[in-house]
Structures are given as C-alpha cells and as structure tokens.
Amino acid sequence: MEFNISLVNRISAKAVLPDSMQVVGITGPSGAGKSSLLRALAGFEPEATVSVNWFGEGAKSIATAKAGSATKTVNAISACNAKNALAPVRVGLVFQQPMLFPHVNVKGNLALAQRHAGSKALAVEHALAGCECEHLLHKSIDSLSGGEAQRVALARALVNGPDVLMLDESLSALDATLRSKILRFLVKTCGRLNIKLIMVSHDVQDLALFCDGLISVEDGAVDAAGSVAYVMAKIASQGSVENPCAILEGEIIPHSDDFPHPFTRLNVSGNILYAKATVQSDNERNTNNNTEQGLDSNPRQARGKIAVFASEVSIDTNTQVNVPSSSILNALPCEVVKIYYPETLQYNNPQSNSQQLQTAIVMLSHGAQTLYARVSTLSIERLKLEPGLSVVARFKLQ
C-alpha cells in the first residue's frame, strides 16, 4: 500500500509499505494525528488531499487481466483505470465509540450493513461467532456494555465486507484475553478474504503480535514505516515508546503428558521459552481454506510468536543458559547491539545530578531476532555492558 495525505495544519503523511503486508498497525503518542490520518485515509476529511493505493500493482494487474485483450495494452490500462473509478476500494472504519445505530437492535444494525454487502462480506452467523456476540443478536443497543457494543460494531463492519477495514482503537473496551481472541479471528478472516486491515491501538503488544507492518506517526507526519521489527527498533531508539516490545518467533512444541505445566512451549533456535498465553500462531494466518480449521497435518511445524516487553527483560552476564540459576524461566543467549538513553526516560530532577536514576534501553540480538531490555544506567555501569558483549536475557512471559 502507498499513501500521501495532507491536511492543512494537521497532517502531512507519506508512506510506502509492501503490498504483502495484510495487517498494518499505526502507533504514535496521543495527539500525534493517528485518528485524523485514518479518517483522511477513509475519505472522511473533505479538506484533505488524499492519494492512496491500497492494493498496489497486484490489484492493478488483476484488473488489467480482467480488462481482456492483451494486444491493446494502452487501452487495457485506461479501461482498468475506468474500472477502478467505477468500483472504488470500499473502506470500513470502526471507531472507538461503536456508533451503532440506536433506532434498531443488534440484528437491525447487521441487516443495515448487509444492504450493501460487498464480495468480501462475512455471513452474519460467522461474524457474530468470531466477534463473540451471538448472544447479543436480539438486544437493543442501549442495553449493550461498552465492550459488547465494540464487538457488535466490528461484526457489523465484517458483515458489510469492505476491501479495507480500519480499526481506530475499536477493541479498547475489551479485556486482553478476549481482545487477542477476537484479533486472532480478525487477522485470520481478513487474510482469508484479502481484506486489508489497518489498526490504531495504544497496545504495543497487540500491534507487534498481530501486524505485518507498522507505521509510527508523530506530529501528523510518518516517523517510520516498515516491518514491525524495523519500526519497533526505530521508536525504541527514539524513546517514543516507554516500554518497547519485541517479537520472538519459534516453533510451538505441542502439549504432551510429560510436561503437565500450564505453559505453551516455544522453541526459539534450540532454546525453550515458556509462555502462559498470547502465542500467535502463524498457522492461523494461512490463507489456504483447507487449513481454516487449524487442522495442520504436521503440528510440529506450527510456528508461534510471542511479545516480550522491555520492562520484563533482565540481563545476566553469566552466560550459562542451560544451568537453571534463576526463578525466571525464560533465558535466551544474546549479544548487546546498542544502548539507548532515550530522553523521555530520564527523570527530570534538577536537585540531583545523579546518573544512577537514569534508565536505558538495551537492544539485544539473538540471531536475527531482536529483544529490548529496560535497565538502569547503574546496572549498565556495574555489568560493564557494551556493544558486542555476550549476555543472557532472562524474562517473564504472559
């Protein structure tokens, strides 16, 4: 996808992301213009100058192929443009406030959304089940709680079937477990139906776990855009996120009776990590309809992702990973890459010029994977941390 947006005094944003990125997250401090950016992208800001290409060359070539006769290339392209103009990309936007129509009930809202259901629309039962709101079908809008209303609003958008679905903090009223369950369903469904998902969330972990790409917005401009790892590294180095979040990928070890503990085990290049929840399996993203039920022929191959917050990570200079010496279960041998002293993390205490109160972000690498640790500058001095040093990152997982 590619966009270039300008809105006088508020937004001047430009970004290009690979079209293969199905789920794109937008992050940034509050007031950075995330919502305005989404509104402009959705075409709700009449004063904004918007040029956006959602599906890039892929969509164009499909349209050209449809336009037929290969001999007249020029005509085919103009026909394709005309076709695009006739059938514009449909954008669905779900706000933080669910904006359900209060004059009809939940069923009525879904029925209104079905009136112009697109080719990517989901059946009502399927959408309701995925958004965990089957039991709400006959309820009036007034009687819904905040979280219920947000789920119904999401179901309404899915029943309508847009080409691009934008979520502006749309699941903020849900607890973490339910939110990640619904996000999992959403990412899977959008992958299957080729719906581009753009989501704004204050939850860095959600964004890191579920997005393919990230856009970081600051002061109405795009600060960084690209893969999750790239953008996370950039915002971590600037200190614009207080607690950056890293993603580790590995193979999920299936449950077996000889390991009776309530953990999901993840094999990250030979190191076993123990997570309680929030393992996002890549299999769920499979666009192949045959594996929709999650029945993979070889479950040993299942890959999973976990999010690790910098605040959960401690650094150990004793590099003997295989000898358990700490109650913290997870250990990963790493190398120190960089140490950042983001300004936003420094305590502004004019009375004291002590450096020991300061906090730093240590960027660690484990092979190609990156981890962040938030430690005090005192620890850095005592452990003599410096780039190139081999250490062990120990961390808790949720």
Binding site: F44, V91, L93, F101, H103, H116
Partner: protein
Amino acid sequence: MLESSAFAAVGLTLKLAFLTSLLLMLLVTPLAWKLATWQHKLKPVFMSVLALPLVLPPTVLGFYLLVAFSPQSPVGEGWQWLTGHQLAFSFEGLVIGSFIYSLPFALQPLYSGFTQLDKRYVEVAHSLGFGKIETFFRIILPLCKAPFIVAFGLSFAHTIGEFGVVLMIGGNIPGETQVLSIALYEHVEALEYGQAHALSFGLLLFSFLLLTLLYRFNGKGGQAWSSISR
C-alpha cells in the same frame, strides 16, 4: 350551534396548516441540514434573517408580503403571469405567507436536532455503502424522529394560530381566505359572543391537546423547545 361558515373556516384552517407544515418539512429539512454543517462568518446574519418572523410583529411581515404580492411587484406580476390570477387575497398567498411566518418553528427544532446528531453515524452509513437519500431515510430520519415531529407539530399549531399576517394579506373571503382566527374576530366585531366562545374554546382545546402530544413525543425533557423564544 356553529353555522356552516364556521365549519368552512375550520376546514380551511386545517388545510392551510397542513399544507404549510408539509411544505416546510420538504424545504426546510435540507436547509437545516446545510446550516447545521455550514461554517461561515456570515452565518449569524443568515440565521437571524431566518429567525426574524419570530420577533417581527406579524403585521410588519404581512405588510411587506402584501406589497410583494401586489400585481405591481415583480413577485405578484410573475405569479399572475404563471397562474392567471393574483396572489394577494388568495389561498396560495396565504400558504406562502404562513410558510414564511412559521419557518423558524420548523427550522429551529430541525437545526438543533441535526447539530446534536453525531455526524459519525452518517460517516458509518456512508462507509457501509449507503447513498445520500438512503442515509437520510434509513438513518437520519429515524434518529431525528423527535425533532421532525416537533417541527411539524409546531409549524402546524403556529399556522393555526396566525392572525396578523392573514389579516394583512388574506382579506376575509369565506371559503377562500377566512381562517378560524379571522372568523373569530368577525364574530366579536358583530357581538356574536356565543359563536366567539365556541370557536375560542375549540381552538384552546385543540392547541392544548396538540402541545401535550408534542411534549409526549419529545420525551427527553423537551430540549428542542428551549431554543424557541415563545
């Protein structure tokens, strides 16, 4: 007890009130929607022009309308050219006069209803693929049901109660321009107090019932009324 001319006056009044309110709904709705989203430094001027009939003595309004309706003025002349008869002292003239006289009563509830309506409902409707007309009938109209009922009811009641404007532009032609309030005035002039009592009490009862109904429809404390100065 009432004579046939009284029945004619009642019928004419109801017809006038209904036609006026209907026309107001049709024409003022898009105007109110436009105004609710319009931002311009001249907006206060425009708004006060539209609210003038609220405060202007009806005779002033009636006088200007009479001048405009006369066959010598461009408006009256144009009407005569189009229809073949003159606008002053005609039922059509009364409709136009009542339209202007009652316009603020239709505009105010709709305007405040539209400004209070969260525009994101409209955005959601558009994003769900609704066209403009469809959004109006399926979303805006049901969401603004109360303001619409209040606007219609107030225009209706206010048109029934008008006197000064009709006196100036309508004359007193039974069956054509003699509305209830004028007929009542006639009876008092002729010292026919029995007739006057019957008409007055009928109007009083009718207005009371209509307002009670409106208050019931406008359940939420009648906020649409607060913007109306009488």
